[in-house]
C-alpha cells in the first residue's frame, strides 16, 4: 500500500514536470497542436483520388436530342472539361494529349436503341497511365449513363409494373459495384488513412527526440539514480504527450468534418477509445528509437527509416491485399495497419467493437510489448 503510494507520487511528479515544461514551451505546444490540422488540410487536397475538370472528348455520332441531353448532363456536373470531336480520326490523334485524357463515343443509333428498349453500348476510352483517374472516371461515367438511360426510358414508357422491375431497367450495366462510398468521394477514403498517418508522424517524432535530449543533458541519468523505475520514466513521458496528441487529433477530426464533411459513420466512441492506444504506441515507438539512438540527428534518421516502410506496407498508400505473402506478413506486424482498419471501418463501414475487436486487441498487445521493450532498453543503457 505504502509502496503503491510512493509509486503514484513519483509518477505524479514526473507528469507534473512534463506539463510545466510543455506550458512554458508554447512554441512546441503550438506546433504539436497545429501540425495535424495543417497536414490534414494539405494532404486531404493533395492525396484525394477525386478528379476535377478532367479533359473529356466527346464524339457524338447520333446528334439527337437524347445524345445532346446526355452530354449536357455530364457537363453540368463540373467534373469534366468537354471537347467535341467530329470523327474517329480526331479521336486517334487527340487521345492521350493534355486536353483529351478520356473519350466518350456515342453510337449513331443511340436514340433508336433507347426508343426500342434495346441494349445501348457507349464507347469509353480512358488514359490508363493514371489508373486512379481511369477507374474513377469509368465508374462515374457509367453511373451517369445508367441514370440517364433509366430516366429517359421512364419518361417515355408508361409506368407499368413490368417496367419498374429491376431487370427491365438495367440495360446499361456496370460490372463494378461501389460500396461504402456511394458518392465515390476520394476524401472519405483518404481522411481515415490520413488520420492514422498523422498520429504516427506526430507521436514518433515527439518522443524520438525527447529521451535523447534528456540523455544529452544528463537528466536521464539523474532520474535513474533516484528511486524512479524505468517503467515510470516511460509512462511519465508518453502520458503527457499522449494527452496533447489526442487534443490535436480530435482537432483534426473536427476540422475534416467542417472542411470536407467527413465524419465517422460507425462508432465514434470506439474511435475515441482506440486512438489514445495508437498514440501511445507511436510515442513508445519514438521512445524506443530514442533509447537506441546516439544523438538527436541519429534519432531523426532512425525515425524516418522506421516510418517510410510503415507507410508503404500499412495499406495506407498501396492495398495490402494485392501484395505477396511476405509483405502481407510484414504489414500485419505494423501497428498502423491495424489502426487503419479501425479508422476506415469506423469512418466508412459504420463498424464498431463487434466487428473490430480483433484489431483493438492486437493494438493493445503492441502497446504492452513496446512499453516493456522501452523500459528494458532504458534499464540496459544505464
Amino acid at each position: 500500500m505504502n509502496l503503491w503510494r510512493e509509486k503514484t507520487s513519483r509518477l505524479r511528479t514526473l507528469l507534473w514536470r512534463e506539463f510545466v515544461e510543455l506550458r512554458r514551451d508554447r512554441f512546441t505546444l503550438t506546433i504539436m497542436l497545429l501540425i495535424p490540422v495543417f497536414q490534414m488540410a494539405l494532404l486531404a487536397y493533395a492525396i484525394t483520388t477525386d478528379f476535377d475538370h478532367l479533359p473529356l472528348c466527346v464524339l457524338d455520332g447520333a446528334h439527337t436530342r437524347e445524345s445532346r441531353q446526355l452530354v449536357s448532363a455530364i457537363t453540368a456536373t463540373g467534373y469534366f472539361t468537354l471537347t467535341p470531336l467530329r470523327d474517329l480520326e480526331e479521336v486517334n490523334s487527340f487521345f492521350g494529349r493534355e486536353h483529351c485524357r478520356a473519350a466518350l463515343l456515342i453510337p449513331m443509333d443511340f436514340s433508336e436503341l433507347i426508343a426500342n428498349h434495346k441494349d445501348v453500348r457507349l464507347g469509353l476510352l480512358l488514359d490508363a497511365s493514371d489508373t486512379t483517374m481511369a477507374t474513377s472516371a469509368e465508374g462515374f461515367l457509367t453511373a451517369m449513363a445508367q441514370a440517364f438511360y433509366r430516366q429517359t426510358r421512364l419518361e417515355r414508357t408508361p409506368l407499368t409494373e413490368r417496367n419498374l422491375r429491376p431487370e427491365a431497367i438495367g440495360i446499361v450495366t456496370t460490372r463494378s459495384r461501389m460500396l461504402f462510398n456511394p458518392p465515390l468521394s476520394g476524401t472519405v477514403y483518404t481522411i481515415p488513412g490520413l488520420l492514422g498517418m498523422i498520429c504516427m508522424f506526430l507521436t514518433v517524432l515527439i518522443t524520438a527526440l525527447a529521451l535523447v535530449r534528456e540523455r544529452e543533458t544528463g537528466t536521464l541519468e539523474q532520474l535513474l539514480v533516484t528511486p524512479v523505475t524505468p517503467l515510470e520514466v516511460v509512462l511519465g513521458k508518453i502520458l503527457p504527450f499522449g494527452v496533447v496528441a489526442m487534443c490535436a487529433i480530435v482537432g483534426s477530426v473536427v476540422f475534416s468534418w467542417l472542411l470536407f464533411g467527413v465524419f465517422p459513420n460507425g462508432s465514434i466512441g470506439l474511435f475515441l477509445a482506440v486512438t489514445p492506444i495508437f498514440l501511445l504506441i507511436g510515442l513508445s515507438l519514438g521512445l524506443l528509437i530514442s533509447s537506441l539512438a546516439h544523438s538527436s540527428v541519429d534519432a531523426l534518421e532512425r525515425s524516418i527509416l522506421i516510418m517510410v516502410p510503415q507507410l508503404m506496407l500499412s495499406d495506407f498508400l498501396f492495398p495490402l491485399s494485392l501484395m505477396s505473402l511476405p509483405f502481407r506478413i510484414i504489414g500485419e506486424a505494423i501497428p498502423l495497419t491495424h489502426y487503419l482498419r479501425i479508422t476506415r471501418g469506423v469512418y466508412m463501414k459504420s463498424e464498431g467493437l463487434a466487428e473490430l475487436w480483433p484489431e483493438v486487441a492486437i493494438l493493445c498487445g503492441f502497446l504492452f510489448l513496446l512499453i516493456r521493450g522501452v523500459s528494458r532498453a532504458i534499464k540496459k543503457q544505464s
Binding site: 513519483r10 511528479t13 514536470r17 510545466v20 515544461e21 514551451d25 543533458t217 544528463g218 541519468e221 539514480v225
Partner: protein, 320 residues
C-alpha cells in the same frame, strides 16, 4: 554497527564491456564522514566505478556495499540513501530553481512540506536565496552547480557521489563549493568526489588512483606523497642561473635526480625522502655554495599521480 564501519566497501569489483575490462578487481573502503577523492584520467574506469556504486550499472564480478546495502541484491533500496551529482549539472532548464527542488524531492516521495523545510535549510547555505523563482536556464553555471548539489541533498542521503562537480566552474565558486563539501563531511556525510583539478584533492581524507581499470594507489594525501612519490624534495632558487646550473651539474654527478621546476627553479629529488636524507643534501649544498638555499617541499598530488602513471606504463624500458 559502530559509526566507524566503512560506509562504502568495494570488493574485487569488476566490470567488462565485451572483451574490454573497464574496472578490474578494484577493492577499497571509505569511512563514514570522509571526503574520498577518486582520481583517474579519462577512460580509466572512474565513472564506471561510480555508476556501479550508484546502481546505474551492474558489476560483472565482485560486489560492493553502500550504506550497508549490497549493490547487487539491494539495488532498489540504495537509491534513497545516496545523492548523485554529475558534471553535466542535470537540472531541467525550463523549470525554476524551486520547481527543480520540488521535482527531485517528489521523486524520493518526500511530502511537499518536507521539501520546503529542506529547501529553507539548504538554499541559504548554498547561496541560492533569492533565486528560487528564476528559470534554471537563466542561472549562471556556478549557481546551477550549487542548485544541483541542493537537489541531490534534499532527501538527506548518507553518501553523496560527486562526479567532477567542479568541471567548468570558476576558481571562486570552486572554493565555495569545496568549503561546502568539507562542512557536509563534518556533519557526518560521506562524500565520494572525482575531479580533474588534482589540487582540490588535498582536501580529501583518502585518495584512490585508478589507471586502466586498476586501483594503483590508495592512501591519505600525505601518505601518497611519502610512500608513492619519494617524500620530501628540495627546491633550489638563485638569482643567477649560472650558479644553479653548476650546482645541478655537480649534484647529478653525485647521483641525485635533478629536474627543472617552475619559474626557473631546480628540483632535487631524493630516492628516499626522509628527514635525515634531506639534511644530508642540505649540508652538501652548503658546501657547494653557501649562498644556495633550498626549500623542502612535498610533491603535489598532480606530481604524485603523474609519477605513478609513468611507473605503471607497460613499456619495454622498464623491464630492461
Amino acid at each position: 554497527m559502530s559509526d566507524n564501519t566503512a560506509i562504502i566497501q568495494v570488493e574485487t569489483l569488476t566490470r567488462r564491456f565485451g572483451t574490454f575490462t573497464a574496472v578490474d578487481q578494484v577493492s577499497f573502503q571509505v569511512e563514514r564522514g570522509e571526503v574520498f577523492g577518486f582520481v583517474g584520467s579519462n577512460g580509466s574506469g572512474k565513472s564506471t566505478t561510480i555508476r556501479m556504486l550508484c546502481g546505474l550499472l551492474a558489476p560483472t564480478e565482485g560486489t560492493a556495499r553502500v550504506a550497508g546495502l549490497d549493490i547487487r541484491a539491494e539495488a532498489a533500496q540504495i537509491s534513497s540513501h545516496l545523492g548523485y551529482m554529475s558534471q553535466k549539472v542535470s537540472l531541467y532548464g525550463a523549470l525554476t530553481a524551486q520547481e527543480n527542488a520540488l521535482f527531485f524531492g517528489g521523486l524520493y516521495s518526500l511530502p511537499v512540506a518536507r521539501i520546503a523545510e529542506r529547501q529553507r535549510m539548504l538554499f541559504p547555505r548554498l547561496g541560492l536565496t533569492g533565486r528560487e523563482h528564476m528559470l534554471v536556464r537563466e542561472l549562471p553555471s556556478g549557481i546551477k552547480q550549487r542548485l544541483a548539489l541542493a537537489c541531490s541533498l534534499l532527501h538527506d542521503p548518507a553518501v553523496i557521489f560527486l562526479d567532477e562537480p567542479t568541471a567548468g566552474v570558476d576558481l571562486i565558486n570552486r572554493q565555495v563549493f569545496w568549503d561546502l563539501i568539507r562542512e557536509l563531511a563534518a556533519e557526518g556525510k560521506t562524500l565520494f568526489v572525482t575531479s580533474h583539478y588534482l589540487d582540490e584533492m588535498e582536501h580529501a581524507q583518502h585518495i584512490g588512483f585508478i589507471d586502466r581499470g586498476k586501483l594503483i594507489g590508495f592512501d591519505s594525501p600525505l601518505g601518497l606523497k611519502v610512500h608513492f612519490a619519494g617524500g620530501y624534495r628540495l627546491r633550489l632558487l638563485h638569482d643567477e642561473p649560472q650558479v644553479l646550473a653548476t650546482a645541478a651539474a655537480s649534484l647529478r654527478t653525485a647521483g641525485y635526480r635533478v629536474e627543472p621546476g617552475d619559474n626557473g627553479e631546480v628540483c632535487v629529488l631524493l630516492a628516499d625522502g626522509s628527514r635525515a636524507n634531506l639534511e644530508q643534501l642540505r649540508r652538501r649544498l652548503h658546501a657547494l655554495n653557501p649562498t644556495l638555499d633550498g626549500t623542502a617541499a612535498l610533491p603535489s598530488i598532480e606530481e604524485v599521480f603523474a609519477g605513478m602513471i609513468r611507473q605503471h606504463q607497460p613499456t619495454q624500458e622498464h623491464k630492461a
